[in-house]
């Protein structure tokens, strides 16, 4: 509960800060509100157990970039408390467009079932009919689970296509041999032929799933680990994997791999180098651009 409260608190702070940035007319105040917004975003990062990103946000954004911006404000202010006002018409137009934009984005966010993607990646986007039936008729299945199962899945229109590429060993779960390995109730290869209806079930796009429902579904299919294993660890201890990734190693991917023989996941060594060089170049370039120049003689 406290997590949710903190989220709403930070979300409110972030959004309020962002809106205040848009609304306020004084640049320095804008900067202050930007600090608020970015600090709130940092809080959100902490809340998302991305400690390092949050701290980086604080250090670089709030402590560095904003100070730089304020610095710029001071250097470019032709008078104290400079205000350059926007015309009301423009303001209204921008507000309208912004509203439209936010509506578009929100509708997109809200209409997409994000958990469907997760389940698909875990191999539960399309399950075989017998797996589905097995899960549906498991002993002690609660009513809510049953409803969830029925609502979340619908028969696949392309069952024949889905069945064809199934592996010879015959686990019924389509398209995902890894999932089949850990499928506790998978039928033995011998009785494959005895199953009469080999139709598959796929996720129902009309039913949006919450995270909890997705986790529950995964648990029902015995895929609990697979669904969450690829997500970030719950703890905030992200610096070591991040550092290793920057050094070109991905233990978070490679250690949890089912197939040990698979190629190791590439890290971020090259982007890291590129960004470092880029930063250096940028710093030099900024110093060059901002250096004191001989002021041109005013031509009238």
């Amino acid at each position: 509960m406290n997590g949710a409260a903190l989220f709403w608190f930070f979300a409110a702070v972030t959004c309020a800060g962002a809106v205040a940035v848009v609304v306020s007319q004084n640049v320095v105040r804008m900067a202050v509100w930007l600090i608020v917004a970015l600090g709130g975003a940092a809080g959100l990062f902490f809340q998302l157990s991305a400690d390092f990103v949050g701290a980086t946000q604080l250090l670089i954004y709030v402590g560095g970039t904003i100070v730089l911006l304020i610095f710029g404000v001071m250097l470019t202010a032709s008078g104290p408390y400079l205000r350059i006002k926007t015309s009301p018409g423009e303001g209204f137009l921008a507000a309208g467009v912004g509203l439209l934009f936010v509506l578009v984005l929100m509708s997109t966010v809200l209409t997409i079932d994000w958990n469907a993607g997760r389940l698909k990646l875990a191999g539960l986007g399309k399950v075989s009919a017998d797996a589905y039936e097995t899960a549906l008729h498991k002993e002690g299945l609660s009513e809510s689970d049953r409803t969830l199962l029925e609502q979340a899945y619908q028969p696949s229109a392309k069952a024949d296509h889905a069945a064809e590429p199934a592996p010879k060993s015959g686990p019924a779960v389509a398209e995902n041999p890894e999932a089949a390995d850990s499928h506790g109730s998978a039928p033995k290869p011998g009785d494959v032929h005895s199953v009469p209806a080999a139709l598959a079930y796929e996720l129902n796009p009309g039913r949006r799933l919450t995270s909890a429902e997705a986790a529950r579904l995964a648990a029902l299919f015995g895929q609990e680990k697979a669904v969450v294993a690829s997500a970030m660890p719950a703890q905030g201890d992200t610096i070591r994997p991040l550092g290793l990734a920057l050094a070109g190693l991905r233990p978070d991917r490679d250690l949890n791999k089912v197939h040990a023989k698979a190629a190791t996941t590439p890290g971020y060594l090259l982007p890291f180098e590129i960004v470092s060089v880029h930063l250096l170049v940028v710093l030099i370039g900024a110093a060059y651009l901002a250096r004191t120049k001989r002021r041109r003689v005013e031509a009238s």
Binding site: V28, F46, A55, L59, P80, A212, P233
Partner: protein, 462 residues
């Protein structure tokens, strides 16, 4: 262990099911937060209280006079209190030329930034509000927020003196953050972690275990860090932002009363903060530096961790001693800062920037390279482990070994933590944890333990 904003063990305490003091989750969190904040604010406020008095006394002694004696108390220790009362009584002025909102909010930002950094500061083993793996990083990030307050104060005052002070402060702080981070990075490189508790833990034992004596580069880095930290707190000889002789008072020229004093509380709090960080990074943190005593205290702490309640009086006592030691070390360094202020003349602003970019920054870079190369050179080329049998000598163990021990200990504690409460219901652990998936976390722990075991085996075989 947790998202750092979840309030840790105190909250857990109030969530304990079946007890009379069980409160709802949100309330528990709030209570824990308040308790933590109260504790920290005491350090924050008291440190200012004491150090302002100390500053006056030290200044007096250095200037061959007594310093405050009249207001009351022995050695005039009530002077700060009297000052505080006076400041509270003063009118809260806001100049008409000022940007009122920013003018009023700036001191709070300064205080908040300085105070927030205490969140991740361990005063003793486990006595930390948020035990984060990137504690030092967060600390530096929060500390860097203070500059925003200074700049805002300078800008919003509507005065040239303030504006100049703010600009200077902005330039100085942004510049000095680079050598500060770099010099703090040098013990980090040696220790291999950003977790301040772990860093302090691995310095347990004899004096030579302190990171300042780890290698020549950390030794130099300590002094560099201390100088840069002094600049970061805008202390003399780097106090250009408030240079009285030229800028009247710099960014706080227009302030009065409590708002004015907030800046100084923030300053003294920052001084104590960077000093404690220095003591943790270089000077052993809460460790005494005497092997047997440290060993005894560590044993007491371990007994607390091993007990079913999670703590014991012994561990509490050991931590109290550790806390006192930490604060003493910090106070000593603060005293050095005060001493420096009343001894050295102030630099010019261009000299300040020159010192940073032409001297401190290159020195830090060299030190960093040296610190990185040191273990390679020492263990590969010179062969330090073979040269002296550290285990037999029992003076010190190689740092890598110590760090490994600390890591293994932490893993074991975590595993024990998980194992000790297998039946804890999800409600007790809080909704977010359930959301994150306990099984996954356990699996990850196993993986982590496995990997650390692999490392240990590799070391053994080597």
């Amino acid at each position: 262990m947790q998202p750092i904003l979840a309030a840790g063990t105190i909250a857990d305490f109030f969530r304990q099911p079946g007890t009379w003091y069980q409160v709802p989750d949100l309330a528990a969190t709030l209570i824990a937060a308040v308790i933590h904040a109260t504790l920290l604010i005491h350090i924050f406020a008291l440190s200012a209280f004491i150090f302002i008095w100390l500053e006056r006394k030290v200044a007096g002694r250095i200037q061959d006079r007594l310093g405050p004696t009249r207001v009351g108390g022995k050695f005039g220790w009530l002077q700060s209190l009297a000052d505080g009362i006076k400041l509270i009584q003063k009118e809260d002025l806001c100049p008409s030329a000022a940007d009122g909102m920013l003018f009023r909010v700036a001191p709070y930002i300064a205080c908040a930034a300085s105070f927030a950094a205490y969140i991740v500061l361990p005063l003793s083993d486990g006595w930390v509000a948020v035990d984060s793996d990137i504690a030092l990083f967060i600390l530096l990030g929060l500390l860097s927020l203070e500059v925003v307050a200074i700049v805002l104060a300078g800008y919003s005052s509507g005065s040239k003196w303030s504006l100049f002070g703010g600009m200077r402060e902005a330039a100085q702080m942004v510049s000095y953050e680079i050598p500060l981070a770099l010099s703090a990075l040098i013990p980090i490189v040696a220790a291999g972690t950003l977790n301040l508790s772990d860093i302090a833990r691995m310095q347990s034992g004899w004096l030579v275990n302190w990171l300042i004596f780890q290698n020549p580069f950390t030794f130099i880095a300590f002094f560099v860090y201390f100088a840069v930290a002094t600049a970061e707190c805008k202390r003399a000889p780097f106090d250009l932002a408030e240079a009285e002789s030229e800028l009247v008072g710099g960014f706080h020229t227009e302030y009065s009363g409590m708002r004015w004093s907030f800046f100084f509380m923030a300053e003294y709090a920052s001084m104590l903060l960077v000093s404690i960080v220095a003591s943790i990074l270089f000077l052993g943190g809460w460790n005494t530096g005497i092997g047997p005593i440290d060993g005894w205290l560590d044993g007491l702490r371990a007994s607390g961790a091993a007990s079913p309640a999670g703590w014991s009086f012994g561990s509490w006592f050991a931590n109290l001693i550790g806390c006192i030691i930490t604060l003493k070390k910090g106070a000593l360094l603060v005293f050095v800062q005060i001493w420096v202020r009343w001894t050295l003349p102030r630099l010019r602003i261009d000299q300040v920037m020159l010192t940073c970019f032409k001297y401190l920054l290159p020195i830090c870079c060299v030190l960093f390279l040296g610190a990185v190369a040191w273990p390679i050179v020492l263990t590969k080329a010179i062969g330090r482990p073979e040269a002296i049998d550290w285990k037999k000598a029992k003076i010190s163990k190689p740092l890598g070994e110590r760090a490994h021990e600390v890591r293994v200990r932490r893993k074991a504690e975590r595993a024990a933590d998980v194992d000790a409460k297998p039946a804890t219901p999800a409600a007790f652990r809080g909704e977010p944890k359930a959301d994150r998936g306990r099984v996954a976390s356990v699996a990850r722990e196993e993986g982590a333990v496995d990997s650390s075991r692999d490392v240990a085996q590799a070391e053994v075989s080597r």
